[in-house]
């Protein structure tokens, strides 16, 4: 028993090692990871490294372009755009991580229950998923936020909700494939209950795909969430949400383009990083996976 345990441990370590090697070879994916780590650091330390107060208005600096003291220039009420973007990083990350977690937890749970129990449960799950997939991502998010109301919570729930069907579909597919395999049958035969079979036996086999989908979904959710904020449905001013900043700058495009240009650039870089990271993870963890 002990011997077997050691062997599987070694096998596991080998697997992780090979995954890492495959991932490591992918330069672009590494770039993605580095950008994400930098963003996490910024999110953590923004209040300490921001050169100016993100809400401090300086009317003499209104719409001023880039300079040494104001790297990205100032906005229409004279706030330092660079500091606001730094502070907005944690906002964007918090919103999108929370949203992806909603999609992940709800979607995985529903997908697994549907596939595991089959029959009528599965039929209902498939029906519901098909209906949600009939709505394009962003439209679904807009519909949800129209109903529950705008604001930060609204954005999180709306963009999280639009991720649920993707997680359901993927989890369901894998569980359907796994549940007929010998190890699952064996687990049932030794008297494991359904919850234990699902969590301890099947879930580990879904995990790598969940991680890949969650990473790629981060990119989509950042776009959805900042898009909602851009439409004025996100956190209210003076919140330094990147999409909201872009929206504020729209009216000053002619005189002060920096107000919209830099927050948009920030969104693009972060989305790009998650796309690179996600693509790399997929190739490393599960090359056959189609997402």
């Amino acid at each position: 028993m002990n011997d077997v345990g050691k062997k599987t441990n070694r096998a596991k370590r080998r697997q992780i090692y090979f995954t890492w090697r495959r991932f490591h070879k992918n330069r672009l994916a590494l770039v993605g990871v580095i950008i994400i780590i930098i963003h996490l650091l910024i999110a953590g330390f923004a209040p300490y490294i921001a050169p100016h107060h993100p809400f401090a208005q300086n009317f003499r600096m209104m719409n001023k372009g880039i300079s040494l003291t104001h790297l990205f220039g100032c906005d229409h009420v004279g706030r330092d755009i660079f500091s606001r973007i730094l502070l907005g990083t944690s906002l964007t990350l918090r919103i999108s991580i929370a949203a992806v977690m909603i999609g992940l937890l709800v979607g995985t749970l529903i997908g697994m229950l549907g596939a595991y129990y089959g029959r009528i449960v599965d039929a209902i799950v498939v029906f519901g998923t098909d209906i949600l997939l009939a709505f394009p991502d962003f439209l679904l998010a807009v519909a949800v936020i129209a109903a529950i109301g705008s604001g930060m919570t609204g954005v999180i729930i709306a963009s999280g909700f639009s991720s649920i069907p993707q997680f359901i579909r993927m989890t369901r597919g894998i569980v359907l494939r796994e549940k007929g395999k010998e190890y699952v049958v064996a687990a049932k035969a030794i008297g494991e209950n359904s919850a234990s079979v699902m969590i301890r036996y099947i879930l580990p086999n879904v995990l790598s795909s969940i991680i890949v989908l969650a990473t790629l979904r981060m990119a989509v959710v950042i776009l959805i969430a900042s898009g909602l904020s851009f439409l004025g449905l996100g956190p209210p001013p003076p919140s330094p949400e990147w999409g909201a900043m872009l929206n504020e700058g729209k009216a000053y495009l002619r005189t002060a383009p920096q107000i919209s240009v830099f927050p948009g650039l920030a969104i693009m870089i972060l989305v790009l990083a998650f796309n690179l990271f996600g693509d790399g993870l997929r190739d490393a963890l599960d090359p056959r996976m189609k997402l």
Partner: protein, 306 residues
């Protein structure tokens, strides 16, 4: 074939019922009393009561839903709170404007996407291929509401070549259509590249090359045709992306489409219009996907419709 189409149409009915249910829920979930929302905050209690009565809001929810479905089937989506006109009269002309924009975008996306993807696939692992891949990633990662503003900045503000928005003739469609097309073009290019690589590995390509055909001819006559099939199938998905993107792009370019109407209606709390707009968008998406599936069986005879 005709049976296949009829069967697919029948299979659509539950999905459409589901879509009406989700749209129905929008008004139900709005915090507070829907009658109060429709009447406005300052309205007299009698007015609210009258609206409640006329909309049947005192009835059980399932009965209300049934009434909603029956009305929708007759083309009656209710009445706009803001303009007091029928929702369908508000929504339909706007929807046609979105269709116009989307058609231009989808043509651009496919033409650009397939060209770029094919070139990248043919010159695999070359500098062209790598720069294409970077371009594709940028296309997927760039928020349309940012690229749209950049286009306005460059082509309207600085160069003055094209209008920044509105609906004033053929020039006004150029910028929104390109903005909207960027994402789908990138996804199409990615798909086209993958399928060209797939096809070039096939034996019949080797045969064609071995018997001395010119390489360019092999690519045009043999490879491209087969590579296009999987690319065309994602046209349905692209339309979904366009519908979602239209909400943002129309807002930036003040294009009088349905996406912008939905956003305006959310702002003015005109929920029946939001409901109708979402319903029209989602159903059109479902029908487009069906059309693509049927088209697919036409262009690829290997697909059996059973």
């Amino acid at each position: 074939m005709i049976y296949y189409i009829i069967r697919r149409l029948l299979m659509l009915i539950p999905t459409l019922i589901g879509i009406t249910f989700v749209s129905f829920l929008i008004l139900q979930l709005v915090p507070g009393d829907p009658a109060r929302v429709i009447a406005g905050i300052e309205a007299e209690e009698e007015v609210v009561e009258a609206i409640r009565e006329s909309l049947g809001l005192h009835k059980p929810i399932i009965v209300q839903y049934w009434m909603f479905v029956k009305n929708v089937a007759k083309g009656d989506f209710g009445e706009s709170i803001r303009t007091k006109r029928r929702v369908i009269d508000e929504v339909w002309p706007r929807f046609l404007n979105t269709v116009r924009l989307s058609l231009v975008s989808i043509v651009i996306a496919f033409f650009v996407g397939i060209t770029i993807g094919t070139i990248a696939g043919v010159y695999r692992n070359s500098a062209i291929d790598y720069s294409t891949m970077v371009l594709i990633l940028l296309g997927i990662s760039t928020p349309s509401f940012w690229s749209g503003l950049l286009f306005i900045l460059v082509f309207s503000v600085y160069l003055g070549w094209l209008p920044a928005g509105g609906f004033t003739g053929i020039q006004s469609v150029v910028l929104p259509a390109i903005t909207l097309a960027a994402g789908p073009a990138a996804m199409t290019a990615r798909m086209a590249r993958a399928s060209i690589l797939d096809v070039l590995r096939q034996d019949y390509i080797k045969t064609a090359l071995a018997k001395g055909q010119k390489e360019s001819k092999v690519i045009y006559k043999h490879a491209l045709k087969n590579a296009l099939i999987p690319t065309v199938t994602i046209i349905g998905l692209q339309f979904g992306y366009l519908i979602g993107g239209a909400v943002l792009v129309e807002t930036i370019f003040t294009w009088p489409g349905l996406g912008r109407l939905i956003v305006q209606s959310i702002d003015s709390r005109d929920y029946p219009v939001v409901q109708g707009g979402v319903l029209i968008f989602a159903s059109s998406f479902v029908f487009i996907n069906l059309a693509v599936d049927i088209l697919y069986t036409y262009i690829d005879p290997r697909v059996t419709y059973e």
